[in-house]
Point group: C2
């Protein structure tokens, strides 16, 4: 039996390839218009086929969140890789092995202790790395502030130890917390200005800083200009999700990832249909809980993708989802969604939902289904 | 280099085998004392080694949440398997294939439509299954109420279609919502009484009902007696987690699962240490958020497992965790947890955290580390 949308066993992660392609091309065209290179973050899908589509559209290099991703994508032929999590010293042997096999791997650092440890490692193993300095432009996580003296101290340690000074990078992850165009434009400008300032300080102090790398999906889609920036990174834009919809950077019908599920029971007096997609299929991500519209564990759509407004996955156990109307009790739930009904659920967070699945069912324009493996672990 | 607790690359899921063994033996001894058989739910760890320890301690058969689990554990030599999610018709060919290979697989059903569909499938493929009827004893999810007329209707359909009437099963999942011994004893008694009542109704109507199966970790550990029950199921008890600690059925030092992580940065003015265990390593589960003690994304311990009271993973991005003191800003965070410090984080929810990892590092009494694979997907 040929696999089709109607026969694939549930629960399954589905990628609408047309939507994905549209999202990828839109972002690339925007970056081309800004005159910056684009380095997609491949942690969202961890899937060679998705990344090949990004590269084919014009992406230059990739961003990864684990050395496992670096290894997998390097094996698939991609050499220009930014490992965008502050390097920890125990991971240096593995990073070095990748470099020695020909990978153009760039590491990031945001503190003096790690810079010294890099220096020690380099001396011990006669190794050099290309290192970028991580800048904190919004206080949400890691990095050093653009005007922090530490910036120059780190640069000095790296330069003296013979590391290649690749540039600066920042990620304004707090952009996920906003939902108006004005606020998004402001955080995008803050991200840009902070990274550019850090680069200027490095250059004025005599250090090389060829790359100024910024990005998050909301800021990449909201920036008014990118003066001084050389490259942009973004990840979730390729698939999008309900969190991004609430942020305001995609429509519901831009969301390219969903989970196909089957109705397996009802609790009529409560207005519940029970489906075979629980949190194991959707992830435990409740990212829309604190946003303007809470979609529970996901937005319910028909099997062909039509949004069923008001119907959400209101609860989830490991392999059971509770489907109900967000507003009122639907006492007709059993007739509306009979046993065996197949549905699509749009996820809160594409990165988290994808991570629950060993592969994607990639649905093409002609309704054929291709199986795209994805990997996990570290 | 031999893998040890101090060298295993982070983030990694660690099982303290002594704690696990103690948890398994304690539960089995309790069930033995009640004179009931014990059928562990293997969805928590999805790991052959963990389940072998459960079987060695005296478990009889297993409970699974997916057919993938059934296939994997059957391949490992376990034949008596309860698939404890309402069967959906599209999965029957795969269930039948397992039975034909010699698996003693039991299915569950809680509605007339599925019973009819089972009958149709049976006639078409000349197949019979052992079927248990799912009973709803606490309104938290699936099942039919013990006094619902549908119970006898389903039994009649199954009997007439030649299916083997295995018995009744229930899971009082709402037990997770309580945290006093009195409330837990009450929900355990409600679970027991509901299942026994359903079995009595079936037997009085002339149907066979050999098995009366109940269970959840909190009720299994709280029941005062199990009269009329023939078997108990529980899953998370083998590893435990912070949610179970808040429920009150385990101490912190009973928790056998943790995530090993490394400090990779600081934000001193905020009192943050940044670690390399984000939500990809911990899961997005925030199950303690609405409980008496909110542990954020996890409780921080030293590498050797000593609880560092007050220190939690207060935030998590995909590969970054934010470690801070839950009460006050620790301005000495950089000296307390220098770059490279290795820590253990106890998880909110063992089932969800385990699912993020391809394998466990199993730490034995002699401090040796064994790698125990786990699987995922459907």
């Amino acid at each position: 039996m040929t696999t089709s949308l109607h026969t694939i066993e549930t629960p399954a992660a589905l990628i609408d390839v047309q939507r994905m392609q549209r999202n990828i091309e839109h972002m690339q065209a925007r970056m081309d218009a800004f005159g910056v290179t684009f380095r997609p973050h491949v942690k969202t899908a961890k899937c060679i086929s998705v990344t090949q589509a990004q590269m084919a559209a014009g992406a230059r290099g990739i961003t990864v969140s684990t050395l496992k991703e670096a290894e997998q994508f390097f094996a698939a032929g991609i050499t220009d890789i930014l490992y965008a999590v502050g390097i920890s010293i125990d991971k240096l042997p593995r990073a070095l092995a990748l470099c020695q096999r020909g990978c153009d791997l760039k590491l990031i650092v945001d503190n003096v202790d790690t810079a010294h440890a890099l220096d020690d490692f380099g001396k011990t193993f006669n190794a050099t790395f290309e290192v970028w300095i991580e800048i904190d432009t919004d206080g949400h996580r890691s990095g050093i502030k653009p005007d922090d003296e530490t910036l120059l101290t780190i640069a000095r340690i790296l330069q003296e130890s013979g590391m290649t000074m690749g540039g600066v990078m920042t990620h304004a992850g707090s952009s996920y917390d906003y939902h108006t165009p004005e606020a998004l434009r402001a955080i995008a400008e803050q991200e840009r200005a902070g990274a550019v300032k850090a680069a200027q300080r490095l250059r004025e102090a005599g250090f090389s800083c060829p790359v100024v790398s910024v990005g998050s999906t909301p800021t990449a889609l909201s920036a008014e200009h990118l003066k001084g920036v050389t490259e942009v990174r973004a990840g979730v834009y390729a698939l999008f999700d309900l969190v991004m919809h609430n942020v305001g950077v995609c429509a519901l019908d831009d969301i390219a990832l969903s989970v196909i599920t089957t109705v397996i029971g009802h609790q009529e007096e409560k207005g519940w249909a029970i489906v075979d997609a629980g949190w194991m299929a959707m992830s435990r991500d409740r990212g829309t809980q604190k946003q303007t519209h809470d979609f529970g564990f996901g937005q319910v759509c028909t099997e062909d993708g039509t949004v069923l407004e008001g119907y959400i996955l209101s609860g989830a156990n490991q392999e059971h989802g509770i489907l109900s109307h967000a507003g009122e009790t639907d006492h007709d739930i059993r007739n509306r969604f009979p046993i065996g009904t197949r549905l699509r659920i749009l996820p809160n967070h594409a990165c988290a939902t994808g991570a629950q699945h060993p592969h994607y069912a990639a649905l093409a324009h002609d309704n054929s289904i291709d199986i795209w493996p994805r990997f996990y672990g570290w």
